[in-house]
């Protein structure tokens, strides 16, 4: 009896410990990335900036020096937005891969990003001919991007719906079609665009967090945090959906309801993220895969861990994008792809070797 209890304990504890260690490590990576990103920049770098910032807030409630103004008004909201958007894209990628039972799924595949891009590009091209109140001007592109994302989601959702059920295969195909159509519209617009619009369009399509400010954080944070929280709440159902829809129903999942909820949650989260930062590829696709190889495929942990790693990676990518060629900035989408692609290929090669050994 004693031996049996002992054996069970030794098999159980390492599993739980491993999960806690993994999540703690990822949280630490995120914190270190955020700390570095607040401390380092084109104006001045000092690893004590975060402490000084808190000290000044406690002491006087406002920032004394101009460098501390830069840290609190430019770097800090930018880091927070990077964490939120990186986390949102990774969580969205992880959940879409689960719902679609497809390792290639990410926010880009369903055409949501593409729809957002069409919205943004339309405004960039026709901004001069539109008469909108002055105070809306800076937010015109994010608003248009979000509207584009919402219209796209509604379209693919309607296309894929058969008798109240969302057909995943049709959903993916509709996403491919929407992507192609979005590409064509953007191509046509870039043909008629003037030089300045073309430059703005190109930068928006490659993503940037340069326009981050506290107002943007205040608007997007509640939506992104709540969206990710509700996606995380569906983690058990996503696990079961991976068994196949029929099997999931037999285990007690209301498959149609879960699919509807997750699709709309993703549309909202991705729509808001893309509206704030433009299109940032690779995070949604790569982060869940990195975690599956290193920490396992179980969605009870994968969603939370994806959020942490996605946030951390985007903060690092943003740090590189604004420090590599100072005073200019590299588009963040370029950095995520340059860093992500080789790492992803390395992971695939490792996985291939493991499979060969197992067979």
């Amino acid at each position: 009896m004693n031996t049996r209890v002992l054996r069970l304990t030794t098999t159980r504890l390492p599993v739980i410990d491993r999960r806690v260690v993994q999540t703690s490590m990822l949280s630490l990576v995120l914190l270190v990335a955020a700390w570095c990103s607040i401390s380092i920049g084109a104006a001045k770098s000092d690893l004590l900036f975060p402490i000084k910032l808190i000290g000044e807030w406690i002491a006087s409630g406002q920032n004394q020096s101009s460098i501390m103004m830069i840290v609190s008004e430019i770097r800090l909201p930018r880091v927070i937005l990077a964490i939120l958007i990186g986390a949102a894209l990774a969580v969205s990628g992880a959940s879409l891969q689960g719902v679609c039972r497809n390792p290639l799924a990410d926010p880009g595949l369903l055409g949501i990003s593409s729809g957002a891009a069409v919205g943004a590009v339309t405004v960039i091209i026709f901004a001069n001919s539109l008469s909108v109140p002055q105070f809306i001007q800076p937010y015109l592109i994010p608003i248009a991007a979000f509207v584009g994302a919402a219209i796209t989601t509604f379209t693919i959702y309607r296309l894929a719906q058969v008798n109240g059920t969302v057909q995943i295969a049709t959903l993916l195909l509709a996403g491919v079609a929407i992507n192609a159509m979005g590409g064509a519209i953007i191509g046509a617009f870039s043909y008629v665009a003037d030089d300045q619009s073309l430059r703005l369009m190109t930068f928006w399509m490659m993503g940037s967090l340069a326009s981050a400010n506290w107002f943007m954080v205040a608007i997007s944070a509640p939506v992104l945090i709540l969206g990710m929280y509700f996606i995380h709440k569906k983690r058990t159902e996503i696990n079961l959906l991976l068994l196949g829809e029929a099997n999931a129903r037999y285990v007690g999942v209301d498959v149609d309801r879960v699919k509807h909820h997750l699709l709309w949650l993703n549309a909202i989260v991705v729509g808001v993220a893309v509206a704030c930062s433009g299109i940032i590829g690779f995070i949604g696709l790569v982060v869940p895969h990195i975690l599956r190889v290193s920490t396992g495929a179980d969605y009870r942990y994968l969603i939370l861990n994806s959020g942490l790693l996605g946030g951390g990676l985007l903060v690092l990518a943003d740090l590189l994008s604004r420090t590599l060629i100072t005073p200019a900035e590299l588009p963040i989408g370029v950095v995520t792809a340059i860093l992500g692609a080789p790492f992803f290929i390395l992971l695939l090669l490792q996985q291939k070797r493991k499979l060969v050994l197992a067979l």
């Binding site: 069970l8 098999t11 159980r12 739980i16 891969q97 039972r101 497809n102 390792p103 058990t236 696990n239 079961l240 991976l242 068994l243 196949g244 029929a246 099997n247 129903r249 037999y250 285990v251 007690g252 999942v253 209301d254 599956r292 190889v293 396992g296 495929a297 179980d298 499979l355 197992a358 067979l359």
Partner: protein, 258 residues
């Protein structure tokens, strides 16, 4: 306590998949469903379990199947379908634990239940393996452990297990062991409704055999009643010899000529 079916008919775009089927399936008995390809075996399981072809004429423990919520149904009956592929690298333990996802057991109780179910199907040694790297037969046994976990081996309530060809990828030893294990579940108040293509296995291990032909219930009863030359000829269109098993005396069916 039983699953009762009265005049079940099923039509999909003018094709009759099932017609006029009435039967009773009690918790604690083991019924094999046999019949040629496309006879309606899987469709019958789908109707009986409140799957996508939910029917009004099916009742479970006295109540119509549609009056139960999905989670209530999940605690009363589990279904093993023919698809057992997973896209992502779950471990074997994680796969079996999926069967317990909506239960309210604690983490340690869940792990104990998982180990018990894995032991039942002789896969405990695979518990930390990546599911996607298992052989077809191993995957089938792990999925069987998952559905066993779903209906809980500790409960005393009447429960039902529906298995769609659970032995199709198993070697001979595991076919025998799996059917023996399933037969032992009858003592736990679990009914086993199993689609089998090996009629000899069905005759040896099951209490009743249900023979389907083109969506109709040709015959249902004890193996010795159902398995004779005429019904096999009618159900499968083949001529067979019926022998007797030397110890269990269950019918053994062999081809008349090669």
């Amino acid at each position: 306590m039983s699953i009762l079916v009265k005049n079940l008919s099923m039509k999909v775009s003018n094709k009759k998949l099932l017609s006029n089927i009435s039967l009773e399936f009690r918790a604690g008995e083991m019924i094999a469903v046999v019949g040629e390809n496309g006879a309606g075996k899987t469709t019958l399981i789908n109707c009986l379990t409140g799957g996508s072809f939910s029917q009004k004429c099916v009742s479970i423990n006295g109540l119509p199947v549609e009056s139960y919520s999905l989670s209530e149904l999940a605690s009363m009956r589990a279904v093993l379908t023919q698809s057992n592929d997973l896209t992502f690298p779950f471990t074997v333990t994680e796969v079996v634990r999926l069967g317990l996802s909506l239960s309210c057991l604690s983490q340690s109780q869940q792990l104990l239940a998982v180990q018990r179910c894995l032991r039942k199907v002789d896969t405990l040694h695979l518990k930390n393996r990546d599911y996607t790297t298992l052989s077809g037969g191993e995957k089938q046994r792990v999925q069987l452990a998952r559905v066993l976990a779903q209906i809980s081996l500790d409960s005393e309530l009447p429960r039902y297990l529906f298995l769609d060809e659970p032995t199709s990828a198993l070697d001979m030893k595991h076919q025998f062991e799996t059917l023996k294990m399933l037969r032992s579940l009858r003592q736990l108040n679990i009914g086993v409704f199993i689609i089998l293509h090996d009629i000899n296995l069905a005759a040896m291990y099951c209490d009743k055999i249900l023979l389907l032909q083109q969506g109709q219930l040709l015959k249902m009863g004890a193996p010795t009643e159902v398995l004779n030359h005429d019904t096999i000829k009618q159900g499968f269109g083949v001529d067979v010899h019926i022998l007797n098993h030397p110890t269990s005396h269950s019918p053994i069916i062999i081809n008349q000529s090669i």
